[in-house]
Amino acid sequence: MKKLSLLSFLLVFSMLLAACGTSDQNNGSDEGASEEKKTLRVVTDAAYAPFEYMDGDKIVGFDVDFVNAVAKEAGYEADIVHVGWEPVFVEIEDKIADFAVSAITINDERKESYDFSHAYFLSTNKILVPEGSDIKSAADLKDKVVAVQNGTTGQEAIESVLGENNPNIKKFENTVLAIMELKGGGADAVVADNTVVEEYAKNNPDDKFVVVEDPDAFAAEYYGLMFPKDSELKAEINEAINTIYENGTYAEIYKEWFGSEPDLEDLKAQQ
């Protein structure tokens, strides 16, 4: 029947198109996959420069280099896939991915549902505001409209000041969108990890944003790699992390991205 052959042609054709269109969304070891090394599925939300972000169709960032180093040390290949922020949690919960790296802060609430590796980065939430803003501390955020990334410690931090479910807190899918809201005038401030907002302010001088810190209100936090509960992989990864702390690989990566020495003692003290 003419109808059937037309349909099947369309089907085959569209499969070819789909195959062409799917580029390598992933970033991992570019050397050809070797038989012995198992590949780990590592999920991330690549919208968080300088930790993980998209450069065209490649995922790059501090977290990327860190994970690649750790995986290699543990004898694995890492296939880092961008899935988005909320999907990261879904995939770990459903055990679809092996672990996640996405500048995820270790906290007790998350520990209830997930496991974390050793801390690998120290961060504080800070406030991004336009130059000349009268916001000089966390307390000044009262009655202001603040944009955050949904489900982050940045959101928690501002909630501790404004209260949970305050309608003045605008939650966005990722930090980029929150910052764009600030640019567009829909928010008075953005609360997010210090590295991210400092990086943004530095790279976008025309926007005339400044970073305000309030270490009393917003405490220090640590990032960890996030595993499904009771993951057996965690131990191996932790071992690998300590190894690259010892052998200087971590410091090398840190210096490359942040231009300074890491405080390894502080990190190791969290273990």
């Binding site: 789909a18 269109g21 459903d94």
Partner: protein, 218 residues
């Protein structure tokens, strides 16, 4: 305003890849959706209420919930159930197909029921069985009437495929957002994306018109 064409040019190859995927997703959606839609449409028309119920429920669910929700359910729930991992392209094709099938089932039903009752009567009085009458008399006529709404559904799918960006399927919209994420710009990526969609839908509308005109003069 400083419109950065150079950034658009940087992203051009990615937009091209995204366009191919968008077309692929929509084509697959319409192809599978049409085949499935025919089956479901016929199933819904079965006289026995118990037999037609599952088809009715299918149509009700897929037409009564947002495609957005369906995409999320299929991507995070359904696909991993079978493959153990998430596959954005598979999930997107599945969601678009299942969704389209529900609408196409109704297009089929309407098309078939729009055929004059006398046609079925004439076929049956000539001794044809119900199936023979459907196959040789009703369906061929109905198909012709379904081309315009089917073509429209295809154009709808092109636009709806943009939702697949949220599950990280690298189609046009996905790259638009990626460009926004990388450069913190709004106009350049989204105007580009809008123009691409416009070019696609206008071309399709034009082709569809030509097709309709050819069919009506036959």
């Amino acid at each position: 305003m400083d419109f950065r064409f150079d950034l658009i040019m940087d992203y051009a190859p990615l937009f091209l890849k995204g366009t191919l995927l968008t077309l692929g997703l929509s084509l697959a959606g319409i192809a599978i959706g049409t085949a499935l839609g025919l089956a479901i449409g016929l199933g819904k028309m079965v006289k026995n209420k118990w037999l037609s119920l599952p088809f009715d429920l299918y149509i009700t669910f897929f037409r009564g919930t947002p495609l957005f929700v369906q995409i999320l359910l299929i991507h995070f729930g359904l696909v991993p159930l079978f493959t153990g991992k998430t596959e954005p392209v598979t999930a997107a094709i599945l969601a678009l197909s299942l969704n389209a099938a529900a609408y196409i089932a109704e297009i089929f039903r309407a098309g078939i029921q729009s055929i004059d009752k006398g046609q079925m009567e004439a076929a049956r009085t000539l001794g044809m069985t119900h199936v023979q009458a459907m196959r040789h008399v009703i369906l061929p006529q109905a198909f012709k009437r379904m081309i315009p709404p089917l073509g429209n559904e295809f154009i709808v799918l092109i636009k709806e495929s943009s939702l697949a960006a949220v599950i990280a399927a690298p189609e046009i919209m996905y790259w638009g957002r990626a460009m926004q994420g990388q450069y913190f710009k709004v106009w350049e990526p989204y105007i580009t994306v809008a123009v691409i969609y416009l070019v696609i839908t206008l071309s399709l509308s034009f082709l569809l018109n030509r097709l309709e005109r050819r069919l009506s003069t036959e």
